[in-house]
């Protein structure tokens, strides 16, 4: 039986809007220490007023836009039961990711995201059948300028 029921397929094309937390010095320090990528470019966290914006690790776009929810609201696999179709066991894994930064992220950036489910495709795996969900997300800054584009393939099974 196909995992792609009519109800599941009705999700294709749906979008959700969300806001990030502002990118703080704490978020930067946490990411730098955890990633082991101690690029000195991201150690300069004191920006004199009026100077060029302080750059932050590019991958922080992801951290600051992830929702923080109580453990009781996590799915069995630990993922956030956010806006997504429930397929099979409801579990997910990451697939491929493509991110384009139109400008460097900076301290105090706050991003508005729009995430759209572009497609769902069923695949036959060695261990089990699964579905590849293709998500397209765009992120704008406070001034409405597009900052980041992301294409993410999520595996649902």
């Amino acid at each position: 039986m196909s995992l792609l029921t009519p109800e599941v397929m009705s999700w294709v094309g749906r979008s959700i809007e969300f806001w990030s937390d502002p990118i703080s010095a704490t978020e930067v320090r946490r990411f730098v220490s955890a990633s082991g990528d101690d690029n000195p470019r991201y150690a300069l966290l004191e920006t004199p007023e009026g100077s060029e914006a302080t750059p932050v690790p590019p991958m922080l776009y992801y951290a600051v836009t992830r929702p923080l929810v109580p453990a009781s609201e996590l799915a069995n696999d630990g993922t956030v039961q956010e806006h997504r179709p429930m397929i099979g066991t409801g579990q997910t894994m990451g697939g491929s990711v493509e991110v384009e930064w139109l400008r460097p992220l900076a301290l105090n950036d706050r991003l508005r995201g729009m995430r759209t489910l572009a497609s769902l495709n069923e695949k036959r795996g060695r261990r089990r059948d699964f579905v590849v969900a293709e998500w397209i997300t765009e992120y704008w800054d406070r001034e409405g300028a597009l900052v980041v584009r992301e294409r993410y393939e999520q595996i649902l099974f």
């Binding site: 990528d37 150690a43 996590l74 491929s96």
Partner: protein, 151 residues
Amino acid sequence: MSGNATNRYYSDKPLSLDGVRVGTRLPTLTKCPSQVEVVLFCAAIRNFHRLHYDQAFTEEQGFDSVIVPGFLMGNWCLEAATRAFGPDAEVCRLKFKNTAIAPVDVAYTIEGSVISAGKQDDGRSLVTCDFTVTGPSAEVVTLGTVDIRLA
């Protein structure tokens, strides 16, 4: 920040547009993530998938060890590129795909090479590099591509 700190991070001789051609190899980066490091990284990016910290759950899913998150391996590719091209390098695109399960507590080698290099319309240079993240059994666990813009 001292100049020495900068020099310890970047290559002794950062690559530039003039200094690379298709096939130029970047300095190799090695990583050996422990479970603690993986937990710290997952907390930093708000990824609470149990595959990254819950051994019993991971075994139920058919894997031997908790798994290194894909975003950390993607960041390794990005790090290898920025170390190689120096402080003026600006990452403008990253693509990565996990091709095999990556367990914790083993060594990974991040190897990259230039696949294209040239000037953009705005006069800045754009260099694209492909990366492989390889585990100890020579299995490639992640494929990555990074675009670097140079002043």
